[in-house]
């Protein structure tokens, strides 16, 4: 996971790469429609190595922007996985800061929910690039910050989980949102029943 190579940039190669990412993105015991069930080895070579059923849940595939359309460190807003309440997300090219789950030639394009996973604080306008660091926060409610280069891990603060990361795919120049890891604040399921 740490050594993502350039070769999976094409849509064709991306399928292989997806499994790597989805192994931590898509684990779900929920009743949401399961598109595929694949058996994977989660952490090969570690004491915790375990076979787990990874479910690639039926998230929508939604075009959210183009690589060319992104300016360094200027987030673009979009809604995902639907247009309902709490779907506000941001897409950002982090000026060459390589990130877990990042796409593009520099692996620096990522997308996250805008809602703090502590108490639902809205963090629009809180993207910050400081030296090599890329964080979202401090949340205006209780000051949590998240590391956008490391899957939205908490940097400092009170959140109950990492910031939900939107899984991205690149098709030519088009950027697609294809899934989400972590429960969005305020929801009981990311994919709401309609």
């Amino acid at each position: 996971m740490t050594d993502l190579k350039q070769k999976d940039e094409t849509a064709a190669d991306h399928g292989k790469c997806m499994l790597n990412r989805r192994q931590f993105l898509m684990y779900s015991g929920s009743a949401a429609a399961a598109a595929t069930t694949i058996s994977i080895n989660l952490f090969p070579g570690t004491a915790q190595a375990a076979q787990a059923k990874a479910r690639v849940v039926g998230y929508p595939r939604k075009k959210i922007g183009t690589l060319r359309g992104l300016n360094d460190n200027q987030p673009v807003d979009f809604s995902y996985p639907d247009d309902e309440q709490n779907s506000q997300c941001m897409l950002v090219k982090m000026g060459g800061a390589k990130a877990g789950g990042g796409i593009g030639p520099q692996r620096d394009v990522v997308a996250f929910s805008y809602l703090c996973t502590h108490q639902g604080g809205f963090m629009m306008g809180k993207y910050q690039a400081v030296g090599p660091h890329r964080v979202l926060g401090q949340c205006p409610l209780h000051l949590s910050t998240y590391d956008l280069t490391r899957h939205g891990i908490i940097v400092s603060g009170q959140a109950y989980q990492s910031l939900p990361q939107v899984l991205l795919e690149l098709d030519g120049d088009d950027i697609y949102a294809v899934g989400m890891m972590g429960l969005i604040f305020g929801r009981d399921k990311n994919l709401m029943e309609t």
Binding site: M1, T2, F24, L25, Y27, S28, G29, S30, L42, F43, Q48, A50, A52, V57, E84, Q85, N86, A99, G100, G101, T117, H118, Q119, G120, G121, V130, G131, H133, V135, Q138, L141, H142, L143, S144, T145, D147, T149, R150, I153, I154, V155, S156, G157, Q158, Y160, Q161, S162, P164, M181, G182, L183, F185, G186, R187, D188, K189, N190, L191, M192, E193
Partner: protein
């Protein structure tokens, strides 16, 4: 999920309408947020997204600050032998403490603390263990208890009560601490008794005690009501979050000025600083230099005549009052017990002033140089804290301290801050208070008096000092160590030397249990104690390394939070019931039960409790007169035909603030918002019926804890500490090494950071913050695996009697050969950050595998007997790169002070 790795989930069950609701509080920090537990059977329908379908009565998705269940807040546990869902969330109905259901991430994820064999809690201790042929093996309770009791009786009969050392938590609920202290202090009557955070049973804040301040006098609201708040040696945002986010942050947003003494700029400090230099001063000082800095601030106040003259006239002891009193007078006050004459005592405020102005270190320029801070800020701080406004009104100033401050120069710092607070007129009025912010919750009730006269330790003067259990063990006097809910070793200073001694006395002793008969095990352990070795029994919820896994001969599995009804108070003395909501794992039992079984076998009476309420009710009278007095709750309960626990359950997460009072006429139970409340009127006291029946009124509610009820202003000489500080000060390429907590971790490894994948991912191992300049000079980058090492870890090795005034002074101990220098080495992952002052390293306070207390000096404060845990030095070098340096999964090296 059966993995230690954090795997984000994207759904969580909602509690249904018919879920049972119980109240509890967080088990962790002092603040003790109120929580609700929703419980419903596994397999029964979960709640739905409509308000009419779930227990929260809200439609999902919810908006900011509304109810929500994060996946970490759900668990599956056993209740009465059947699996149930539990959702543990901050109480949205809370109107105190965590108002509106706020929480930290530590408490917010506390549902993951519950035993669930599918999670990393699977290794909870579930059965008693006895070491046979080198291995801890499961045995029945009777087998383990019989052995422990027989060996204990033998040790006490043949080697004296002091050979039986009890090292216990001070905080884990009144029922347990009452039982433990009744057993250890009343029945065994051992002087070798102390708590988890100190080598001897002494007051944590001697300066507060002597000035007359209770540690926990203020209410949380007082911190927010201050116009100027001085925060010393902590960032409340990091370690007592709700005090910050519910009380201090809103105050800062409304213009409160804050003054911080802290070598680090953490998120709370950074937030305050974002308000600009006209609202925030951050003294980023060198460890242990608080006395000159605080002394200099006082001097500026005195030179300008800004002291609170009216307050001082009315509330500060003058020459005669300082030496007055019968039984509590000068010959019988703690500062005389602890020292030789005249080091601290003054003849009143003018005498203090004269002394302060004569100290060369309190010249602001000198102080600024020692502390490494900007001298202009000293003048600014003095002005903010004490300069009367244009209309003559005084600024309302409050002063809070915590361990970074009082564990750096224990006596000196607590005396200095008391003097500053008194000068500013603080301590006894709303928004003008003095106290600790707090560490652990307050769950201690004394079941017996500490037998100080049996302690072999004597300080210069006449008084004995509580026995230093570390030095006593180190010198081979301890034959049986009874360790309850603490690691003992890593949580003390110079801990690698202490560990070596445990190994010598326990593991390397030739008398090791080989037989299978109970009697042969008993005989072997007796022989070990008689041969000069040591037997170890350990009560805990997990098998801890090394105290349990390597040294314990007998291990008793304990039941904990959520597994028994327990009572405890928080940092504003708020008393609540922590309800049992699920079955303790296996055969684990609460500590009060374990102690009772052991005590009965040893022939002690008074241990026939049937449940924890009976223990609580027996203990209540011992709380009378103290800050969390809960005796009157029992009186009220019994008059209403209820038990004490039942009455507290009715009060839910609101509880009641101690000391409590009961009006026999109206049946009304009232609490105390703050202690030392000089604004409290006689009419109110009368109205609350405080003078009737079993109610107990003492000085601390309306006056101060001193011989007269007024404040003692005391000296705080730098010279008592400066010899140690100067000796310790980094030499060559050494750096200061301090340690402490970090926001995301509360537990010292047994709970969140080792057994909660979300937290483990953030902090997978010990870390050390290093300033970019120090890192660059040593070729260290963030993510590098480093070695912290020192050959200058000083350790006191002898139990000595003080005769002359300065016998316990560090330089004298050194000169007379009572200090030995040892080596220590601890690995860590480097975090290069300008959060931390240049020249200072800061690491995790207690990673069980990489315990950084190993580097801190095992030398107690010469006056109080506490360790100055935050003081140490280390060299640091790169070993290589940690796996976290380049991976994206674990740790983060992003700055914590980005606002």
């Amino acid at each position: 999920m059966a993995t230690n790795y954090y795997l984000p989930e994207d759904s969580t069950p909602l509690p249904p309408k018919n879920a049972e609701v119980l109240t509890t509080c967080c088990d962790y920090c002092i603040v003790a947020c109120g929580y609700k537990v929703y419980r419903w059977p596994l397999g029964a329908p979960n709640g739905g997204v409509k308000a009419s379908e779930n227990a929260f009565n809200v439609d999902f998705p919810t908006g900011p600050l509304q109810a929500w269940v994060a996946p970490n807040q759900h668990n599956i546990v056993m209740h009465q032998g059947k699996p149930v869902n539990v959702v543990v969330v901050p109480d949205k109905d809370a109107d105190v403490v965590n108002i509106g259901g706020d929480s930290s991430m530590r408490g917010g994820c506390i549902a993951q603390k519950c035993y669930n064999p599918k999670t990393p809690t699977r290794d909870r201790l579930t059965t008693p263990l006895v070491r046979i042929n080198g291995t801890l093996q499961p045995v029945p309770w009777d087998f383990a208890l019989d052995i422990a009791a027989e060996v204990a009786k033998h040790v006490i009969a043949n080697h004296g009560a002091n050979a039986y050392s009890v090292k216990t938590y001070s905080y884990q609920y009144v029922e347990n601490t009452y039982a433990i202290s009744k057993f250890a202090r009343r029945n065994i009557n051992t002087a070798a008794f102390t708590f988890h955070d100190t080598p001897s049973d002494v007051t944590s804040t001697p300066g507060f005690r002597d000035a007359g301040f209770d540690n926990f006098g203020p209410s949380y609201k007082d911190w927010g009501d201050a116009e100027v708040l001085m925060i010393n040696g902590t960032d409340p945002y990091e370690t007592k979050t709700m005090i910050f986010t519910q009380f201090i942050k809103p105050a800062i947003d409304a213009g409160q000025k804050t003054i911080w003494l802290n070598p680090r700029e953490t998120a709370g400090v950074a937030y305050a600083r974002s308000k600009g230099p006209d609202q925030t001063i951050h003294f980023q000082l060198y460890p242990g230099t608080d006395v000159p800095l605080v002394g200099a601030i006082i001097r500026v106040i005195l030179e300008n005549g800004w002291q609170d003259k009216e307050w001082i006239k009315k509330w500060v002891n003058n020459k005669w009052e300082s030496s007055s009193g019968f039984g509590q007078g000068t010959r019988n006050t703690p500062w005389q017990w602890r020292t030789t004459w005249g080091k601290f005592q003054t003849k009143g405020f003018e005498d203090y002033k004269k002394w302060n102005l004569a100290q060369k270190e309190f010249d602001p320029k000198v102080a600024a140089k020692i502390a490494g801070v900007n001298v202009k800020d000293i003048y600014k701080a003095a002005e903010w804290l004490a300069k009367p406004k244009a209309d003559g009104a005084r600024p309302k100033s409050s002063f809070g301290i915590e361990k970074g401050f009082y564990w750096s120069n224990n006596t000196g710092n607590t005396n200095a801050i008391s003097a500053l607070a008194i000068t500013c007129g603080a301590g006894g009025r709303p928004g003008q208070m003095v106290g600790r912010f707090g560490g652990h919750q307050r769950g201690g009730t004394g079941g017996g008096k500490y037998p100080r006269n049996k302690s072999p330790e004597k300080v210069p003067g006449r008084r004995r000092r509580a026995l230093d259990t570390d030095r006593y063990l180190y010198s081979g006097h301890t034959r049986m160590a009874h360790v309850i809910g603490t690691t003992w070793i890593q949580s003390m200073c110079g801990s690698q030397g202490l560990n070596a001694k445990f190994e010598e006395l326990v593991s390397n002793n030739p008398h090791q249990t080989r037989g299978w008969e109970k009697q042969s095990i008993i005989d072997t352990l007796k022989a070990r104690a008689d041969s000069g070795g040591m037997v170890v029994i350990n009560q805990d919820i997990y098998l801890r390394d090394p105290i349990g896994s390597r040294y314990a001969d007998i291990v008793f599995p304990a039941a904990t939070w959520g597994e028994e009804d327990f009572v405890r108070a928080n940092g504003e003395r708020r008393i609540r019931l922590y309800q049992k909501f699920y079955d303790a794992p296996g055969d684990a039992k609460p500590d009060w039960w374990i102690i009772a079984q052991l005590a009965k076998r040893m022939g002690f009476s008074g241990y026939d409790w049937k449940n924890s309420n009976e223990v609580c009710e027996e203990s209540s009278r011992f709380s009378r007169g103290n800050r969390k007095a809960y005796h009157m709750i029992k009186v009220a309960a019994h008059r209403e035909g209820k038990t004490l626990h039942q009455k507290l359950a009715e009060m839910g997460t609101t509880g009641i603030q101690g000391p409590t009072f009961y009006n026999y006429a109206t049946g009304e139970l009232t609490g105390s918002v703050r202690l030392h409340d000089t604004t409290l009127t006689e009419a109110q006291i009368k109205r609350e019926g405080r003078t009737q029946g079993a109610n107990m009124v003492n000085k601390k509610t309306t006056h101060f804890n001193s011989q007269t009820g007024k404040q003692n202003i005391q000296k705080h000489p730098w010279s008592l500490f400066s010899d140690y500080w100067t000796w310790l000060k980094p030499k060559g390429d050494e750096l200061w090494h301090s340690n402490g907590r970090i926001n995301e971790i509360w537990q010292s490894g047994f709970d969140d950071v080792e057994r909660r994948p979300y937290v483990t991912q953030r902090w997978p191992e010990n870390w050390v913050e290093i300033h970019p300049d120090d890192a660059k000079a040593r070729g260290i980058e963030s993510g590098d695996q480093v070695m912290l090492y020192s050959n200058r870890v000083p350790a006191s090795k002898d139990t000595i009697k003080g005769v002359f005034g300065n016998d316990f002074q560090f330089s004298e101990l050194m000169k007379n050969g009572h200090i030995e220098l040892s080596e220590a080495a601890v690995t860590a992952v480097a975090v290069v950050t300008d959060n931390v002052k240049k020249g200072v390293l800061y690491s995790n306070m207690l990673d069980i595998r990489q315990p950084t207390n190993a580097l801190q000096g095992r030398v107690v404060d010469s006056i109080s007997g506490n360790y100055n845990y935050k003081m140490g030095v280390a060299r640091i070098k790169k070993l290589g790169e940690s796996p976290y340096k380049k991976e994206f999964r674990s740790m983060s090296f992003a700055l914590r002070n980005i606002v």
